[in-house]
Amino acid sequence: MMLVVSAFVLWAGLWALNIILARRLSEQHARIAVPVIFGLTLVLVVELMVRGLNVSFVILPKPSEMVVRLFTSYEMLWEDFAQTILKGALTGYIVGCGAALMVAFLASWSDFLRRGLLPLGNFVAALPVVGLAPIMVMWFGFGWESKAAIVVSMCFFPMLVNCVQGLAATNAIERDLFKTYAASPVQQLGLLRLPAAMPFVLNGLKVCTPLALIGAIVAEFFGSPSVGMGFRIKTSVGSLSLDLVWAEIIVAAIAGTGFFGLLLIIERSLTFWHPSQRR
């Protein structure tokens, strides 16, 4: 009971600290300090509650146990990470987003193709494509290829829609301007359409990041070699090694957030000119 009470006290205390920090610190520092403290608060509160309420390790392990597992099993976690994220998700992400960009280039030359692809792409982007996962495993085997395949099919259409919209995101004056310069199609693409499309392209890449993670891990639930994050999560639940399950989830979250952060940095440096990025 003491632990539960102290969890509430801790929560209140750190929240108050955050309120003060949010007021006092400079924008730059607050942006880092406040969310970090909030995250730590959550972890500590969960730890205290799990201890205080005697939650079974089968339901929710203590955060401290998860962290310990993260360090003791890092070799296994790294192998799983390499198999699922680097081979499966990243390959699929690159192929899927790359293919979507290529098709969007084609569509930007042909108005007919664009009119056909855009509504279809919007429709498919709203479908639960993840349901194809068992079929992809059936077609492409148990290795990382089938995981990449499902990631490709999940990422392709959202990315396509963004890229097609992006490549059409120039205004009439800009297009007329390039016409008065008698610019070649390649010049128009490189100097006008592509830069103007960058905010959309990056948005597509951001949308696809969690999709790629989900796709690669889901597909492993339907069949995999005896390595991979989805495989480990599935088998560890079976053997009640819940701390390992959560360690894998933490790895996935770190990988996803890290990649997302990288995209934000790229976005900041490439589309600094866009109204949403100006400060």
Partner: protein, 328 residues
């Protein structure tokens, strides 16, 4: 006509269920989707055996990512159907589950290989790719491989292990030379898929001496001490065994009951009829009480595979207290 009768009996049963407010509630967690493998429980429910025992039983079907021990620990169920290696593993991990009844006498697990992959005996397995179920089902396999002296990390002196999805596609796609099958389920998918019995060679775990006990009933050790719980449990086990024996002898009716209870609407009569026949072979010879010799063999098999599942012979992992009371 027969369907009408079944319908009528079901209506009666459901009426009985709604009127009998005083019934004790009891929940069982299965380890797979609704199919003839669990016929005994569904029969006992639909034929009113549980009602007669004063129980209002909820049957929760399982799935590939449902770990019954986890549900049990979370209080989502009072009792679970589980395979012994998985249950002992949970016990080793610190979740004290106890076997209270063992309706399945023999193991239905086997490794099914294509003859054209050049396999005619266990000596030919080296260097081959084998599909294995995980999620707790891999322990007897690992034990068998270690007894054969084969590694499971690939290479010429070992076997390559695939985490087999829960269907047999890998044997058709050429992804695996052998796949894990149950006598009552996946084996027939292989046959239905177009491979005939003489194109296949089958290694039964029973024949290889590595059989481990399958579908048994497990509860949390703490609950056993509760007399009230033990009383409900005893009634549950007795009614369930009554269901099993009824299902063994009334196969067609049992299959109809399974189909009635299949909420996903995917089971077919033919498949379930065949499964019921095979399941009856496995439950035959068990009156519900665990044979300690079978337990010892299971433990020996697991220990022979190293200390991955259990570090030593478990103590107190089973009891006859419930079955003794239930079957008297």
């Amino acid at each position: 006509m027969k369907n009408v009768l079944i319908a009528a009996s079901a209506v009666v049963a459901s009426l009985a269920a709604t009127t009998a407010q005083a019934q004790d509630k009891f929940t069982i967690q299965l380890q797979w989707v609704t199919q003839a493998q669990f016929a005994g429980y569904y029969v006992a429910k639909d034929k009113g055996f549980y009602d007669a025992a004063g129980l209002d039983v909820t049957i929760k079907s399982g799935g590939p990512d449902i770990a019954p021990p986890q549900i049990l620990a979370g209080g989502g169920a009072d009792i679970m159907v589980n395979w012994m290696p998985s249950a002992l593993s949970a016990r080793e991990k610190g979740l004290p589950v106890v076997n209270v009844a063992q309706p399945f006498k023999s193991s239905g697990m086997m490794l099914t290989c294509r003859r054209d992959s050049g396999i005619s005996s266990t000596d030919d397995l080296a260097g081959k790719t084998l599909g294995v179920w995980f999620f707790g089902n891999e322990f007897p396999f690992m034990s068998w491989m270690s007894q054969l002296g084969l590694g499971t990390d690939g290479g010429d002196n070992g076997v390559t292990v695939l985490q087999q999805g829960f269907n047999v596609d890998p044997i058709f796609n050429g992804q695996a030379d052998c796949v894990s099958t149950m006598t009552y389920n996946e084996y027939w998918q292989v046959i239905d898929g177009g491979l005939s019995a003489d194109e296949l060679i089958v290694f039964k775990y029973e024949d290889q001496g590595v059989a481990t006990l399958e579908d048994g009933l497990y509860v949390l050790e703490d609950n056993l001490a509760d007399a009230d719980f033990a009383d409900r449990l005893t009634r549950f086990v007795a009614a369930s065994m009554q269901g099993w024996k009824y299902a063994e002898t009334n196969v067609e009716e049992a299959v109809e009951i399974i189909l009635d209870n299949d909420d996903s609407g995917t089971a077919s009569y033919e498949d379930q009829f065949r499964m019921m026949g095979e399941i009856a072979k496995l439950t035959a010879g068990s009156n519900g009480a665990l044979d300690p010799a079978d337990f010892d063999r299971t433990v020996a098999t697991l220990l022979a595979g190293g200390d991955t599942v259990i570090s030593g012979p478990p103590v107190g992992a089973w009891t006859h207290a419930i079955t003794d009371a239930a079957l008297k």
